[in-house]
Symmetry: C2
């Protein structure tokens, strides 16, 4: 991607409007076509500022083709909305009065990500530049707990994070919640989160207040974080693991949902079709070899309640514990077999390991690459086309926070006109 921002936020790329219910409030006054045109120009100027450091208003005019007067008026509006800020006056060396450089604001509107994991809760606030400014995480098992209790604890964590951001002069926008489960077609409903034990849970119903976050699937958010922050190409397969295994397919810079919105199931691909029976009822599914429990169990490890199982695995693997290494390698072989099939079918430009897989990448990748080399012989997949995400397990919650920032960059009028990017 050529328009990657130096701040880590993609200027163009995916349109969050494609995957969210972002709705823009219209202000009365100007006719629709004029408002629409100004909105497009605001977005153009904002993305131009996002796309490169140290541009002046004159530079923005040069790059966008808008007049300097129009750019000044648009920049003023973006500054008032808290989206853009001006730097110090620079002596440009050119004729005319010296310009001030423009940048996305590191104050004001910010993305707000929340996360319910099987073994943790999280909250984070990311500024418009894509920098993480507030980060809170509690390790605790949420499996088979009362969803309302989990929500109450997360709401406390969210309130703390909000207070901390306000002290930093940040204004967290409507939060997005990463959940390890399948979303319903109806917004706000977690249809099925087997590792939490949730079935048809409405976040609004369990949230102790009016500002319930909008839930999104963690694997999808992890893939979007990868797309937006981590320089991934526009066509890739993102495979991540926490308790389960989640995959997400990004095609032309957008999440691909399939005909029913169920695309991206990799955990129950048969790796050894006559193998042991999986909880899903089938035999030899990838999850039996490559999810967290499978690796812990093959390594002969038992994770104490409340402890971080991935830290346990990385500690043991770093200490060259043979049982742990062999369990991770077995997972890598199973992943490689499944990924070889997936790559043949969809021909992605890259495969990105996210979540726990990213943190185990140093041990997983050699086995995965070996399987791909052995199995994809006619149209080989280069070893460097499979990588571990630099975001690691932070991917989904970062994706949740960046989701809102992408919505603002794509359509700043949702803030300049109503101060809410979610239209509520």
């Amino acid at each position: 991607m050529s328009d990657r921002s130096p701040h880590g936020v993609t200027a163009g790329g995916a349109h969050p409007g494609e995957t969210t219910s972002t709705e823009v409030r219209r202000s009365p006054g100007r006719p629709a076509s004029q408002r629409g045109m100004r909105g497009q120009n605001l977005a153009l100027v904002l993305r131009t500022v996002a796309g490169q450091d140290e541009l002046s208003r004159a530079d923005v005019a040069g790059r966008t083709g808008l007049t300097r007067a129009a750019v000044s008026s648009l920049v003023d509006e973006l500054i008032v909305s808290g989206l853009v800020q001006e730097g110090p006056v620079t002596a440009s060396g050119k004729a005319g009065r010296p310009g001030r450089t423009l940048a996305l604001s590191d104050r004001g509107p910010a993305g707000f990500g929340l996360e319910i994991g099987v073994g943790h809760l999280g909250a984070c606030v990311v500024d418009l530049r894509g920098q993480v400014r507030v980060w809170r995480r509690i390790e605790q098992s949420n499996a088979h707990r009362d969803p309302a209790e989990v929500a109450a604890e997360l709401a406390d964590l969210a309130a703390d994070a909000r207070a901390e951001s306000e002290a930093l002069h940040l204004n967290p926008l409507a939060p997005v919640l990463s959940v390890p489960g399948l979303l319903d077609q109806r917004p706000g409903i977690v249809a099925h989160a087997p590792n939490l034990g949730w079935q048809d849970v409405s976040i609004e119903d369990i949230w102790p207040g009016p500002d319930a976050p909008r839930p999104e699937n963690e694997a999808n958010l992890g893939a979007l974080a990868e797309l937006w922050r981590a320089h991934a190409p526009g066509n890739f397969l993102h495979v991540s693991a926490e308790a389960g295994i989640g995959a997400a397919l990004v095609i032309d810079g957008r999440l691909y949902g399939g005909a029913r919105g169920y695309a991206g199931e990799l955990g129950h691909m048969a790796v050894h079709p006559d193998g042991p029976r999986c909880a899903c009822g089938a035999r030899g599914c990838l999850e039996l070899y490559a999810n967290q429990d499978a690796v812990l169990s093959a390594a002969g490890l038992h994770n104490p309640p409340g402890a971080d199982p991935v830290a346990l695995l990385t500690d043991r693997a770093n200490a060259a514990d043979p049982g742990t290494l062999s369990a991770i390698e077995r997972a890598g072989d199973a992943l490689g077999i499944a990924l070889a099939g997936a790559i043949g079918l969809i021909d992605p430009a890259a495969v990105v390991l996210g979540g726990a897989y990213a943190e185990l990448g140093v041990w997983l990748l050699p086995r995965i690459r070996h399987q791909l080399e052995t199995r994809l012989t006619v149209r080989p997949f280069a070893p460097n086309q499979v990588t571990a995400s630099p975001l690691g397990r932070r991917g989904p919650i970062l994706g949740a926070a960046l989701h809102t920032i992408q919505a603002v960059l794509h359509n700043p009028t949702c803030l300049t006109e109503s101060q809410s990017p979610e239209g509520r």
Copy 2:
């Protein structure tokens, strides 16, 4: 699809321009914007006529929103080009003079499909209504023969088919050639057709004349034929077999090529990863269980040279030969395992069996459905979402001929202005 033509040609749907190098010649004279507008209106009128039987000019005006005068002028141009013809005068019962009904022409421009199979050569001509008018097929083994010899024989067959169509007042347009191989990025080059023994063969170089056909991959053409003729939904996976196994993924009414154009490889998905070694070098590939040779060999059958192996299998299966039935069922189980993985990953609306699989569908489908039912437990795939194509082994050559017809329906100016839909 709601705009399916009663003649079997889709009015809207896929744009062949997306998958071919179709290029439109511009005639001088009118400014580009006027020519573009008229071209769009020609296409609109043509697709409206294609979309429903027995419309009058007044009906077309009513449906398109164009004036009756404009429609008449456009219809006249389409009639002169041989794309539309008028039926007899009908007493409409309405006020005004009686109208003539309009229809796509069953004379004039026609699609021309050619095919090189591992065991046959074929030529067919399809009129604008999608009806097959000329059909020629020779059973003969083409494996590891001199490509120029094969091309010479196909050129003779094509010349016979052309002569026969001309007697029917049809004008076959530039031919498209179905080949069981991988196409190169460079147009006209078959990069790799392992079952023919071809490597980097330029069709233009081996063709005995100036009118070399444009090669396309048979699995892709089979999928497009399914999309255009056989009422398939816009998101489906098409899996076909002749000597090899070919898959093609249609997303939103278009072939999905993947990052490098290699998407749709299913034959080397590992079904039993520790199974026997495949010619590709990997172990336990689907082709080892489910391609023609594998089924013949498991059934203990030897196909005489020049004979049709699929007819042999269907004859034996119809005679309830236990070895043949068990070999086909083994192929169905292997296909079901591979398809369960594919469905989980890409969530298609349907899976369509094409080619030889369609002809063996009555025996394959129960096993495939059983595997899908057993393996896709969380998000079941309904049994009727997997079907056998009614086109059977005619799919790829029909797709080749329909390719050109779709190009004309999408952009009739390529004919009205230059009489060549391929721009050469």
